[in-house]
């Protein structure tokens, strides 16, 4: 319990003093994970919508594969991307191993199945409700699916927040492809892992608390924006 109390104090000290290394590390964590989510969203939402309407032979197998990838361990993703980006690997010439770009790619690969599988699910559900009527209005299958993404945009937001949570909390992938290089590819989770392995457990826990605080702040901001958008102030209720 002493450790936890000490960690809490350390966490507050770190936040209060706005320690430059900490700020940079937090910024990198946010930047990498947000970029990965943006990229994965662009690809994953499209893939999810498409899978909801695709009927080619073998589409069920593809779906099974996608659902399996939901359980992909982050360290496996890291290893695979590392082998791809290594100088001895097929994409080595890009020279992006041990840079934040590699970390973004690894996390994109990690959360892409999450976004695709979850969006496929709610798009398919909505299509059960209204797919016939959209078709009657002249929408093709993919158009219907994309309209359902618009229709279920709050579900999209939830899925993206889920993906972001998975990305910012993982350590296996960014450790391997980033190398945990101080000042270059060291993010919050790899810092926590490092301090733990150095035996400085209170500091590791403190960093963990800081990370949680940052994510909590982000979620609160999103919730406030969401509330505002769903219920804009000042829209007059028409007299009937």
């Amino acid at each position: 319990m002493n450790d936890v109390a000490q960690s809490l104090r350390t966490a507050l000290d770190l936040i209060g003093s706005a320690d430059t290394v900490l700020v940079r590390t937090v910024a990198l964590s946010l930047g990498v994970s947000a970029s990965a989510c943006a990229l994965a969203a662009a690809l994953g939402l499209l893939a999810g919508a498409w899978l909801a309407v695709a009927r080619f032979p073998g589409h069920r197998v593809l779906l099974l594969l996608l659902n399996t990838l939901l359980a992909l361990p982050s360290v496996v993703v890291g290893l695979t991307v590392y082998l791809l980006l290594s100088r001895s690997g097929p994409l080595g010439a890009m020279g992006i191993l041990f840079t934040p770009a590699a970390m973004v790619i690894a996390q994109t690969v990690l959360v892409l199945p999450v976004i695709a599988a979850l969006s496929r699910q709610f798009v398919a559900d909505s299509l059960r409700d209204g797919g016939d009527q959209l078709r009657s209005m002249g929408a093709g299958p993919l158009t219907s699916a994309l309209l359902m993404l618009l229709h279920d945009r709050w579900a999209v937001v939830t899925v993206l927040l889920t993906a972001f949570g998975r990305a910012i909390a993982e350590v296996g992938a960014v450790m391997i492809v980033g190398g945990n290089i101080a000042g270059v590819t060291r993010v919050m989770t790899t810092s926590i892992a490092l301090e733990t392995s150095k035996g400085d457990l209170p500091l590791a826990l403190a960093l963990g608390l800081v990370l949680l605080a940052v994510v909590a702040l982000l979620n609160t901001a999103m919730a406030l924006i969401a509330a505002r958008l769903r219920d804009p102030v000042g829209v007059p209720v028409p007299a009937r």
């Binding site: 930047g31 100088r87 890009m94 840079t99 973004v104 790619i105 150095k198």
Partner: protein, 296 residues
Amino acid sequence: MNPWRRVLLVLAWVGACAAAANVQAQVQAPAQAQAQARERFIVMASTTSTEQSGLFPHLLPAFTAATGIEVRVVAVGTGQALDLGRRGDADVLFVHDRAAEDQFVAEGFGLARRDVMFNDFVLVGPSADPAGVQGRDIVAAMAKLVAANVANATFVSRGDKSGTHAAELRYWKIAGIDPSAGLSQPAKPGTLDYKACGCGMGPALNMASATNAYVLADRGTWLSFRNRGELRVLVEGDRRLFNPYGVIVVNPARHPHTKTALAQAFADWVVSPAGQARIAGYRVGGEPLFFPNAKP
């Protein structure tokens, strides 16, 4: 169109473009660096124990100040560090496993290896020392751990092909013992409870501290380790415990893209009087961790 929707669409587009631009920029930069050598940095593969000793924040800035070259350290186990070198993902290696290093050079992956410094290993264990290993002879100590009629001693091994692990295996071999031979779950009375964690020095020390076990550690990591519990140094000073570090520049013949000139600059600096002095100046609690021994 609903103005809010327009805002969201624009934000989404901006976000996507920013992400794409970010990746694009990162991709382009190293390519430019090759041509213009504007980004002066090298990737150095080293070990977790070296990083955790805290040497790098003390040593590397001095090198950067002298040459303007940034050193990016990827700290992994020795086995993985050498693998990085073989793959050409690092420009220079800084590890401590003589046999593996010599093989690396012999296979043609590296230019000549140079001595840089050494530290030593220590056998750390519970202060009560149930196996009575305390002394200056490491092999005798390891033998005592498996001797019969000893209360269940626990030994934590790194089990990760690191320099430390390699040293540990050497001592078992000299003592003529296969520590995993008597392995049984649970450990029988009088046999050694041998735990191979497949982890770095820090986690191994954490585990030993938590289970009151014996563990072979490098002095550097031990001195900066904060979670000691009841552990203390029991065996030290044996010549066989010396742990030499070497620097190897990755061979450009194998990997032409590596920054050989910059890597060589580092290798030359770390064995130079300036580098050596810097190493000697690194102390924890007043004690030096490493002893420079580069041959002139």
